[in-house]
Each structure stands twice: as structure tokens, then as C-alpha cells.
């Protein structure tokens, strides 16, 4: 018993010494905030974890390494700003931020290499990173997300919203989204599952696009790529008219329709109607392969 207490004390002592030696600092601050206010968070490197709660206040807890000068938290006219400030010398410090905000807040997060996570936020979310990954829970409000090379994971609950997602090379995984989706990537992969979509626009240069889900009656679906494959499994209430075009890729489908050729020119085309043809499905690619199916 006496030995274990001694061991625990030594462990705590060493941990404290290590923290002091590394120069890590902790930061905590709470400020009052409006239930439907605006919260802006910026952090260059480290992590940003944001969660929504029912209290009318913003709580910030942070672990800062020695390269971080300070954390500024300010509030003015319903806008709360949390900013990790680095010295002008260009030293890149890391900060791990845990921020709790009123769940209906309009949230903006800007990061460079920091990974961003949001949970339980039901207001509009604007999430931007350069190389940091983004993991976000969709709360039924709109989402505007932009990443250069960071990967993106989004999980919804089937509540319709307008979702704008773009990356340069980052992969995008979206589950249980609904509403309107506009997604674009250059070389990342788009893997999208929507419970009910009113409109989908997906664009890729070389990345593949995988879509699975249901389309609302009269929905519009557009997907284009240059060399990426398009794999679409979409059922729709009222069916849809489909038009698939490719210059040098292959077209396959699960309803035994036969693609036609453009006379003596290269290229294939597949068009027809499923069900009542209430919706519209357009898939276009230059050299990617296309798979279309109207059932899971």
C-alpha cells in the first residue's frame, strides 16, 4: 500500500516535471453568449473540438505548447471570438482547444493544420482547414466546408440541410445526409450516403465518386468527372430520367439497358427512364467508368 502511494506520487511528480519542461500551459475561460449568437474559432495547429450545449455561454479549455503566445476570447454584440495567437517570429505553436458553445450558435472554425471536430451543434457550420482533417456531426442546419488536403467525415441524422463541401485532395465521407448537396474535389474520393436528397451536384477531376441513397420525388442528380469513376446507387420516389455520357469509359447498369455509341465517334451514351421519370439523373465523365443502379 505504502509502495503504491509512493509510486503514484513519483508518477505525478514526473508528469508535472515533464509538463514544465515542455512548457505546456493550460487555459480556461468562460464568457456569456447568446443562444443564437455567432462563434468564430481559429487555430493554426493542434486540434479544435467543438460541442454544443444548452447553456448560454462559451467555455474554452486549451492545452498550449510553448510556441503559443496566448488565446484571445472576446464577445461583442452576440459574436464570440476564440483565437489562438502565435508570436510574429513565425514559430508554429500547437494548441488543443475544447470549446463548448450554445448548440444553436452559428459556428465558424478556421484552421491550418489543426484537426477539427464538431458534435451537437445545430446551427449553421462553416468549417475550413488547409491540411487538418474535419469530423463533423450534421445538426439539421446548413454546412459550408472547405478543405485543401484534409480528409472530411460527416455524419448526419437524415435532417434536410444544404451541404456545400469542397476539397482539393482530401477525401469526403458523408453518412445519413439529406437535402441538397454540392460536393467537389480534384483528386479526393467522394463517398456519399444520403437518406433523402432533393438535389445532388458532385464534381471531381480524378477522384472517384460513390453515391448511395434515396432521392426525393423530382430530385436532380448531377455528377461529373474527368477520369474518376462514378458509382451511383440511387432509388427515387417517382423514378427518374437518366442520361449517362462517357467519352472513353465504360457504362454499366443494373436494369439491363444497353448503352448506345456515337456513330463512328468514340463515346457511349445511356439514357432512359426509371419509374415515372419524375427526377433527373445526369452522369458525365471523360474516361471514368460509370455504374448506375436504382436499388441498393
Amino acid at each position: 500500500m505504502g509502495f503504491s502511494r509512493l509510486a503514484a506520487a513519483i508518477t505525478v511528480l514526473f508528469a508535472s516535471a515533464a509538463a514544465c519542461a515542455s512548457g505546456d500551459k493550460t487555459f480556461e475561460r468562460q464568457v456569456p453568449a447568446e443562444a443564437h449568437g455567432v462563434v468564430d474559432i481559429s487555430n493554426v495547429s493542434g486540434t479544435v473540438a467543438v460541442s454544443g450545449w444548452d447553456r448560454p455561454e462559451v467555455s474554452v479549455r486549451a492545452q498550449l505548447d510553448e510556441g503559443v503566445e496566448r488565446v484571445d476570447v472576446s464577445t461583442d454584440h452576440g459574436r464570440t471570438t476564440v483565437k489562438v495567437v502565435l508570436p510574429h517570429s513565425g514559430h508554429r505553436g500547437e494548441a488543443d482547444l475544447h470549446v463548448q458553445i450554445p448548440k444553436d450558435s452559428e459556428l465558424t472554425v478556421s484552421a491550418v493544420s489543426a484537426d477539427v471536430t464538431t458534435t451537437g451543434v445545430t446551427g449553421l457550420q462553416r468549417l475550413n482547414t488547409v491540411s487538418g482533417d474535419i469530423t463533423a456531426e450534421l445538426g439539421g442546419s446548413d454546412l459550408e466546408l472547405k478543405s485543401v488536403s484534409g480528409n472530411v467525415k460527416l455524419k448526419g441524422h437524415g435532417q434536410p440541410a444544404r451541404l456545400h463541401v469542397s476539397t482539393v485532395s482530401g477525401d469526403v465521407h458523408l453518412e445519413h445526409g439529406a437535402g441538397d448537396l454540392e460536393a467537389g474535389t480534384v483528386s479526393g474520393t467522394l463517398v456519399v450516403s444520403l437518406d433523402s436528397a432533393r438535389s445532388v451536384r458532385a464534381r471531381s477531376t480524378s477522384g472517384d465518386v460513390h453515391f448511395e441513397g434515396k432521392l426525393a420525388r423530382g430530385a436532380d442528380f448531377d455528377a461529373t468527372s474527368v477520369s474518376g469513376d462514378l458509382n451511383v446507387r440511387a432509388s427515387a420516389e417517382g423514378g427518374y430520367a437518366y442520361e449517362v455520357s462517357t467519352f472513353s469509359g465504360d457504362i454499366s447498369n443494373c436494369f439491363d439497358a444497353t448503352p448506345s455509341e456515337h456513330g463512328h465517334m468514340p463515346g457511349h451514351k445511356l439514357q432512359g427512364t426509371r419509374g415515372d421519370g419524375a427526377g433527373h439523373m445526369r452522369l458525365k465523365t471523360m474516361s471514368g467508368d460509370v455504374q448506375l443502379c436504382d436499388r441498393k
Binding site: 478556421s110 475550413n128 488547409v130 484534409g150 482539393v168 483528386s187 474527368v226 474516361s287
Partner: protein, 196 residues
Amino acid sequence: MSGADERKVSSLRELSPAIEPARDLWPQIEARINAERSTAAAALPRIARARAVPPRWLAAAAVVASVAVGVWIGRSVLPAARSGAGVESPLSASRATFADAPTALDVAYVSDPRYQRDRAALMKTLQARLAALPPPARDKVMASLAAISRAKQDLENALGKDPGNALLQELLVNTYQDEMRVLTDVHEASDPGRGI
């Protein structure tokens, strides 16, 4: 009808079944119909020609115009890999692989000095912007720009075989737009005042 001409009519039968005009109007009517026919006949070929223009050509012309605008905008912010100015970087080296052979679309613009000047200036900006990115992100952005460049080259090669292909034209316009988006994102991402 007034004055002495006024009389009471008790039944429709009392009215004259036909009232002859004071003069024969037909010659004038016939002449007018004939004149309208000849005018219509003269105008018909022009209308027919206008209607005979296939809508796809109009669409193709519009797309080509869009491509031209896309080329202009897209090329205006692209690195000037061929300018020879500035320090050779991995980016300019990678671009040189696709930018050395001007396409038919390029030719209309490369001779414009204003375009050349803007392009060279933006090349410097892009390199600085890329240098400000974290190294892993920079590598991935450069790989994506190279993917875009390959896509453009592939599309332009394919258009060389099938110049009227609306699908390829649309995808080429998309690719130029995507390139603009990437360059804008890089610009914003590396802006020290704004961040992405």
C-alpha cells in the same frame, strides 16, 4: 341613321339581306393579298435559313465561347512555367511537363502582353502561396494541380479528335473552373491575414 332616314323596324325580315358596297372592293383586297404573299415568299428563305441553324451549333458555339473565357480566366492565374522567370520549383517543373505544348485554345491568348504580364505576376504569387502552406498540404496541392493539368491535356487531346463533342467541352470548362477554385483556395489558405 338620323333625321329623315329614320324608320321603325318591327321585324328582321324587313331588313335587306345584303348591303352592296358603293364600289367593288375586291380588286384592292386581291392586290393586297398578293402583295403580302410575295413579301412573305421573299422573307421565307431568310427565316427558314435562320430556323435551319441547328441548335447544337448554337450550343457548341456558346460552349466554345465559354471555354475561351475559361481559358482566359484559368490561364491568367496559372503559373508561367514557360516564362523562365523566377526560381525553378517542383511546381513549375511539374507544370512544364504539360505547359510546353500550346494548344489551339492557347494560341489566341499567349500573344497578349497583358495576359503574359498577369500570368507571370500570378505565377510568383502562387509559388509564394504554396510556400506558405504546410509541406504535406503543399505536396498534395501540387499533385492536385498536376492532376488538373493532366485532365486538361487529356480533354484537349480528345477534343482534337472530336472537336464538336459537347461532353468534352463541358468537362473542359469544368476543369478550368476547378483549377480556379483550387488556386483561389490556395490563395485564401495561405493568406496570413485571413487564413482559409
